[in-house]
Amino acid sequence: MLIKTTTHSSCKEHQVTDEKVYFERRDMLKKMGFFGAGALLSGTASASVFDIFSDDQPVATFKQNNLTYSPAGDYNGTLTPEEKVISHNNFYEFGAQKHQPAEMSQGFNVNPWQLKISGEVENPLTLDYDDLYSSFDLEERIYRLRCVEAWSMVIPWIGFSLADLVKKAKPTSKAKYLAFETLHDPVQMPGQRNRRLGGGIDYPYIEGLRIDEAMNPLALMSVGLYGKTLPPQNGAPIRLVVPWKYGFKSIKSVVGIKFVEKKPPTTWNILAANEYGFYANVNPAVDHPRWSQASERRITTGGIFDQNRIATRPFNGYGEEVASLYTGMNLRKYY
């Protein structure tokens, strides 16, 4: 199913990236090598009393493959540069600091992989590594990503509609929610071995959606970004992307989707229920207890003087598509 994003929520032309910049960037990346000065400097700058104990270990670069997909079409907006999308990540399984996942995940082995669809379905199924790329038509979608920490990016994902997967699994009438689970593999994921590195959260990481949310055409199972398969730090080989919710809902490196009757527990909600709700819809009117959600910093090219603060929109600007899911709900209570 191909979604033509012609609604007014789609990214606008006023944020045009110079074409020259776009192409130079790829060239630059090649020249610098994946982990250039930027990655190293970011390590020293994020001050930590532990930094003096850590070594800069040589890293093998994870191999990303090219994907075949239907492109998003004419798009003139400003994307967050690829090197920022793949170097600024919250993926505590590979370290709780933003620069760590890119550094610590390069040896991550994603093939073989199994994504198990189970629970209240007539057609339980398992997708192996190759199935992730061949079972559904892949398409590119450019989505805004709004982190609960009040920064945001614009990312060209590649993937398929979660709805297509749901339809294939044929949920029973008892299926009210989907419970997602990230790989639990402490050997490969240092954050799962070491509580400090892993940010003190319990693993495996779990997330959930209501089934009607999962059926919304915007909900995407992503297998790639910027034309290639996902790098580990962004959730290889397959992750969820729900653009109208805060980023932590978009669970990475998924191995299980279970259809269930009752609302499933979710990782950040377990850790701090007053700060992170089950719904976690982007909502400028409901602040995080420790910071305002009314605006956000859009991460683009450039240094500190280029980080623009912009107003946050309800449902991250996707209200036209998703607001009807929550009709009659008190979004202050169900944050």
Binding site: G199, G303, Q307
Partner: protein
Amino acid sequence: MALTVSAQRIPYLKALVHLVALYPLINLYYAAINDQLGGDPVEAVIHFTGIGALNCLLISLLISPLAKTFKLGFLIHFRRMIGLYAFVYALCHILNFLFFEVQFDLVLFIEEIFKRPYITVGMTAFLFLIALAVTSTAKMRRKMRKNWQKLHNASYLIALLVAIHFYWSVKSDVTEPLIYFALYAGLMAFRHKTLRRWGNQLLRR
């Protein structure tokens, strides 16, 4: 271990301390302006200067125990400047927040100070730091006499508030803030006699 350093050497050592304190700051802003601070340079500069301020505070509190225990009297010459660098880093920390995080949205800036307990605590610490910085000159010290020491004992409180501010600001893993609390407790342990005396005075009132 008693070590004496001749008075002539002190200015050179001070210059060295200036370099050590300023170099990371210059390096930081150079990298931040040139987009070499990773995905989110704003977060990076805020965290770096915040931790830097706390480090300076703890070092300034380490000086008198070191000087007393190891008879390194000359170290006292450096206490004021390290305290002032705590102020400089804290000032940068707050200006980073104002310039780059809320981007001169003064209403949001003030709202955040009052609405977010961890920022309220941090800002309280900064107000005390301003008071200490302003009264740090020899002239002020003479003018204030006994009150000067009373005011500057606030450095114990400031370090505690900053450690709380850090602990409260962390999203999940609190190991690092807890280490800072432990360091703080260690520094206060050196001063247990003074602290006990103050406690007794308070109780008697």
